[in-house]
Symmetry: C2
Subunit: 285 residues, 2 copies
């Protein structure tokens, strides 16, 4: 089986590592706009061969793991180039625009819209790790638009990687993911900014910050090149969640200003139930 | 050496475990308003003996690890009860009101104001862990007000526990800690609230949330009984940091509404430097 990984960073590289481990007769071709990343992926044995789109007709499976703005530009070209039996899947954090872009493509049946909910705050080929997808959820959109035989091939792979599958329409995906992923990133980035702006003397932060702060700002290490187009494509949902978050923070601040400590206690106590909700989340680290 | 732990939860219990491990000739007395916690601490061998204030005259070292509102009420009584050679230290997350409360106490020289920057989101005796303080920062306020011999005894202990010491005045402590600790907790609690409020069907959160969300809302599992009085005592600083955080989130939202993706990229890119700042933070998990 010839597998093409378009974008050999954290997400694509981790797919490559797991596919190599679980499927012995596989040849992994890497494609990347950054020649250094491609070289690095080769030297780390993440890919077997450097490639470009001219080799795509040989592909049985193509996994596209690039920023979502580049995704909507490149996916039609990738589908143009593959053969009729190939399955092309993406790993984008947004789904509506990607699905809309391909709705009338001649090879729509060759495409499977995916969002594997997995990752770390790091990026590039060196961030790729084995087992990243084990126990993680893969959200698949518009499954009915993919050819049945190709669905099967993709689902077999996800099963071998240990992923749990959930089906959802692209609009529901983008709405829910704004709350549980996109908002977390903004909250974390702005927390990091607030503290950096105030504490010019970084030594003070370093000395006083504990693991709680580190946990809360971890996502502020994420790649702006990856996240700017996500926020752009999911603008309406993100603005809505952000508005609600700001409203809740304002209410908390007003309770503090009004010395309403009973209200503050209740707010925190009610939110403690996140414990039970989180207990089921498969964690990476 | 007789060590009294007042409040045998995560913080006090972890002190007890480490002191027992590093100092063989020690007897640990536990005091707690919650008889179940005291019983649990005894059965977990965190303490050697249940005690109350009537035994305090036997104490060589007293570590007070209780919510900061109870702290300002109890610390004067504890100091009243100890002998002239005892050192009493606290582990409160605020320092100004505690230091002000004791400024004219007859035994002010027996008191050392501390804030060990360590912990997890869990609480109670069962949350106590060995080595919690290793490599962590302990902020000491108004060191000059503590008797020299007693300073020495406390610093020896911190050294054996592997802690790094930083000296700071109580006002500077409360101002800085609002940014790197108190704000993180509010940010996390309100993020948890926003998502819970929106996503009534918890199954959807569970399925779509990844390790990023878990990391960002981890602190929303923290104890409201512990945190409400912290926010109350540090009200002015917390309101200031919260105002700045809300302002930054508002700016981000406005940039999104104005399609200013270059601005959004720059904000995230500038905040990425948190990586370098965080690299030095000793982590728990």
């Amino acid at each position: 089986m010839n597998v093409f990984i378009i974008g050999v960073g954290l997400i694509g590289g981790s797919f490559a590592r797991d596919i190599k481990r679980t499927q012995p007769n596989v040849r992994i071709f890497g494609v990347d706009a950054n020649p250094n990343h491609l070289e690095e992926a080769l030297s780390l044995s993440i890919i077997d061969e450097k490639a470009d789109y001219s080799l795509l007709p040989q592909a049985d499976l193509v996994i596209v793991c690039i920023p979502v703005d580049v995704m909507v530009r490149e996916l039609p070209l990738i589908l143009d180039a593959v053969n009729d039996e190939a399955v092309v899947m993406d790993a984008g954090s947004t789904k509506s625009l990607i699905c809309k872009t391909l709705v009338n493509h001649d090879k729509r049946r060759n495409f499977l819209a995916c969002h594997p909910i997995a990752g770390t705050e790091f990026s590039g080929p060196s961030a790729a790790i084995e087992g990243l997808y084990k126990g993680k959820t893969n959200i698949i959109c518009e499954i009915e638009k993919t050819a049945f035989k190709l669905q099967e091939r993709a689902l077999d792979l996800f099963q071998q990687l240990g992923m749990r599958i959930r089906y959802m329409n692209p609009e529901a995906h983008d709405k829910h993911i704004a709350y549980v992923s996109h908002l977390s990133h903004i909250s974390s980035f702005m927390l990091g900014k607030t503290v950096i702006d105030k504490e010019r003397n970084e030594r003070d932060i370093f000395d006083m910050a504990g693991s709680g702060f580190e946990s809360t700002v971890r996502l502020a290490k994420s790649s702006p090149a990856m996240w700017t187009p996500i926020f752009k494509q999911n603008k309406e949902n993100v603005i809505e969640t952000l508005g609600e978050y700001i409203g809740n923070l304002e209410t908390f601040k007003q309770m503090l200003e009004a010395d309403d400590y009973e209200g503050i206690y209740d707010e925190m106590n009610n939110t403690n139930k996140i414990k039970g909700i989180l207990n089921g989340i498969p964690l990476n680290k």
